[in-house]
Amino acid sequence: MDRVTSFFQGNLSKRSRILIIVATFALLPSIFLPTWTITLHAPQYPDGIHVKIYPNTVAGDVREVNLLNHYIGMHEIRADEFPEFRFIPFFILRFFGFALLTAMVGRMAIAALGWMDFTLFGVVMLYTMQHWLYQYGNDLSPDAPLNIDPFTPHFIGVTHVGQFTVTSWPAAGAILMAIAGVIGPVVAVYEWRRTRSEATA
C-alpha cells in the first residue's frame, strides 16, 4: 500500500514530462481537425458522400445526406441541435491545459487525475455518438415516402442501408486524441518501474 501511495505522491521523471508535452501537442490540433468521418457509397455517387464531424460542428455533404434522409423520414441533421458541439472544444482545451500543467508541476497524482478525466470524457463521447446514431436511425417519421426498418449505424465500421454502404471511421482528430490518451498508461508503467528500481536500489 505504501508503494502505491508513494507512487502517486512521487514526482515525474524528465522523460515522462516530455511524453506529456507530446500529449499536449497531440491534443491542441485535434480541436481543429475532423474527429470522425462517415462516408456513404452508392452507384450514383461515384465520389461518395462525405460527412466530417468536428469537435464543434458537422460538415461536408450534410445537405445531400439530409436530402436522402428525408426519403426515409430521418430527422434532419443540424449542427445547432447537438449541445455537445458547444462545449467539446473547451473540454479539449481544458485537457490540454491540464496536461501542460502536469508537465510543468511534474506530479504523478495530477497526471493520473487528468488522464482519468480525459478517458472518462472519451468514453462518454463515444457513448453519446452511439446514442445519436441510435436516435437518428430509429426515430423515423411514419409519414416518410419510404418505409424502412429502423437501424443503428455502427459508429465504427460498415453498415448497409438501402443502396448505400455507410463507412464510419475515426479521423485525424480522434487518432491524435487516442495517441494522447495512450500516453497516460505508458507514463504510468514507466514511472511504476522506475520508482520500483529506485526503491530496490
Binding site: 455533404d61 445537405r63 445531400e64 436530402l67 426519403y71 415516402p145
Partner: protein, 651 residues
Amino acid sequence: MRSKRMTWVLTLTATAAVLGVVTLQSCSGAGRGADVSAIARARGLTEADIVAAVKTFQPTGKMDEYLMFGSGGHSGQVVVIGVPSMRLLKVIAVFTPEPWQGFGYGSDEHKALFENARMAGHDITWGDSHHPALSETDGDYDGQFLFINDKANPRIAVIDLRDFETKQIVTNPNMGTNHGGTFVTPNTEYVIEGAQYSVPLWTDYADVDRYEEDYRGLITMWKFDRDRGRIDEAASFSIVLPPYWHDLADAGKGPSFGWAFLNSFNTEMATGGVEDGNPPFEAGASRNDMDYMHIINWQKAAEVAAAGNTRMARGRRVIPLQTAIDEGLLFFVPEPKSPHGVDVTPDGRFLVVSGKLDPHVTVYSFAKIQQAIQNGDFTSTDPYGVPILDFNSVIEGQLEVGLGPLHTQYDNRGNAYTSIFLESQVTKWSLDPLAVVDKIDVHYNVGHLAAVEGDTKSPDGKYLVAMNKWSLDRFNNVGPLLPQNFQLIDISGDEMELIYDMPIGVGEPHYAQIIKADKLQPFEIYPEIGFDPSTMSTASDAVQAGEERIERRGRNVDVYMTAIRSHFNPEYIRVREGDNVTIHITSIEQVRDATHGFGIAKYNINLSIEPGESQTVSFVADAPGVFPFYCTEFCSALHLEMMGYLLVSPR
C-alpha cells in the same frame, strides 16, 4: 561438358516455350474468354479496322482528349462531340427553341433573348448556323466563349463555356445574309462577321436594276466585352464593301495581327434573272477567272470608327466605302474564282486561298502584301475605287492539290490539309517546300475540315475531321434525307488514316473547331443557389428554402417556388382565369446532375432547372381548368411524384 551445356539450352528453350504459351493464353483470355481475331473474322474486320477501333474506342468512364464544337447547320444549334471517340455529348440550343434545355419554352430570360433576335418584325425560330469560333487569347483558344453565326438571318450568338448556354444573339439589319463569320481576332477584341449576299444599304428598298448603285457588301467588327461576356453593340462598327458577294474570312495573327481577310465572289455583280433569258447566277457569277480577296486593316478601322468617321445605317455605325478607301482600310488582291477559305497559317505569315473552280491552293505572303501596300504598288482599282494589288508580286506560290479545293487547316509540323470537294479527298501538303505529301479518300463531297486546334497559332497535329456533305452508302438507309458524315482522320503519322465515321442527323454542319478538353473549365453545378445563367449572377428573385410563398396583387400572382428531390414547394398554384402568373423557381439542389424540369401541361411551358439555377416564367392563365405541372427530368426514385397542380378557376 558440351552435352551439359546442350541440356541447359534445351531446358531453357522448353521453359520459354511453356511460358510463351501460357502468356498467349492468358492474353487472349483477358477479354472474358474472347478471341479478338475470331471476333474480327466473324465481323469481317481488317487489321486496319481493329487499329482504328483501338484508336477511337473509349471504355466507360474514360474522357476524350478533345472537344469539337460543330455547327448544327439548319438546326440552328451547336453540336459538342468528343474526339477521338466521336461521341455526341451535347447539342447546345442557340438559335432554335429547344425543350430539353428549356430554351424558348416560357422562361422570361429566353423570351428576352429571342426578343432581341427578331428580324424584319419576325420571330425567328431557326438559324442556319455555319461557323463556330472559340474565343482566343494571344492567338490560342482559351476555352471561355464560343461564337456562331446564323447565315439565313444575319445574326451572331455568344455562348458562355462556363455553362454551355447561349447568352446573347445580336442581329445585323444591314446585311441580307452573312457567311464570313464567326472569326475572332487573336485576343477576341472583335468577332468578325462578313455578309454574303449584298442588299440595299442606304435605302430599304431598291430593285436589282439598281444593284451596282444601291446594293452593298459589309463586314462587321463586333466588339466583345470579355468581362461581361457579351458583345458590345454600341462599340461595334461595320465597313461598307462593294456589292460583291462575300465568303469566308479569317483574322491575321503574329506578324499579320490587326488585319482581316475576306473572300469574295460574284465580283461580276451578276444579277441573275434566268427567267428573263439572262445567265443564271451560277453562270453570271462565275464568268471571271479571278475574284478579289479583301485585305482589311481592322485595327486602323477601329481608330477611324472611334474618331467618329462613320455614318449611321439602320441604327448601326458604318464606315462608308469611300472613307475606307481614303483611310487605307481596304485593299484587294485577285484570287482564283469562287474561293471558299482564306486561312492564315499558324505563324501568321501566309494566307492560303482555295478557289472551288481552280485546282490550286494559292499561298499569299503577308510581308509581300504589306510591301506592295506601302509602295503603292497597285495595278488598278475596282469600279468603286478600291486599290488592287498585283497578284504575281504578292503570292508565295501555287500548288495543285486537286479539283475543288475548299478549306485548309494546319498541323504542328509545317503541313496544311485542304479539303478537295469534287474529288472527295483531303490533300496533305507541305508549306515549305510547296509539295503534296499525301491524299486520302473521304466519303463524300467534303466541305470544311477541322484539325485539333488547327486554326490557332499552335495546332496540335493529332486529328482532323472531314465534314462531308454527302454520306450516300456509309450508313443504314434512313430515307431520302441522309445524315452528313463527320470522318475522323488520324494525322499524327506521315500518312493520313481514316479511323471513324460519325453520322450527323440534325442539319448540315459547316465548320467546327476542336479544343483540348483540359482548356475548358465548366461549372459542375451553378456556383450559388439562385443563380441566373442569363446574367451569370445571383437572381434578384431567387428563392431560398423556407422562403416559398404565393403573393397576389389584384390580377398579378407571383409564385416563389423551390425544387428539390422530390417535390416542388408550393404544390398548388390556385389562380383565377385571366390572372398574370409569374413563377420564380429555384433549384436548391447542390449535387451534380440532379436537374429538374418544370413543365406545365397544355400551356407550352417547360424549363430546365439545373442545380442552383433560378428561372422565371410568366404567362397569362387564359385557359381555365386543372393543369398538372411536373418534373420533366427524371430526378429520383420518387420523380413521378414530383408534381403539382395549376388550378385556374373560371372567372
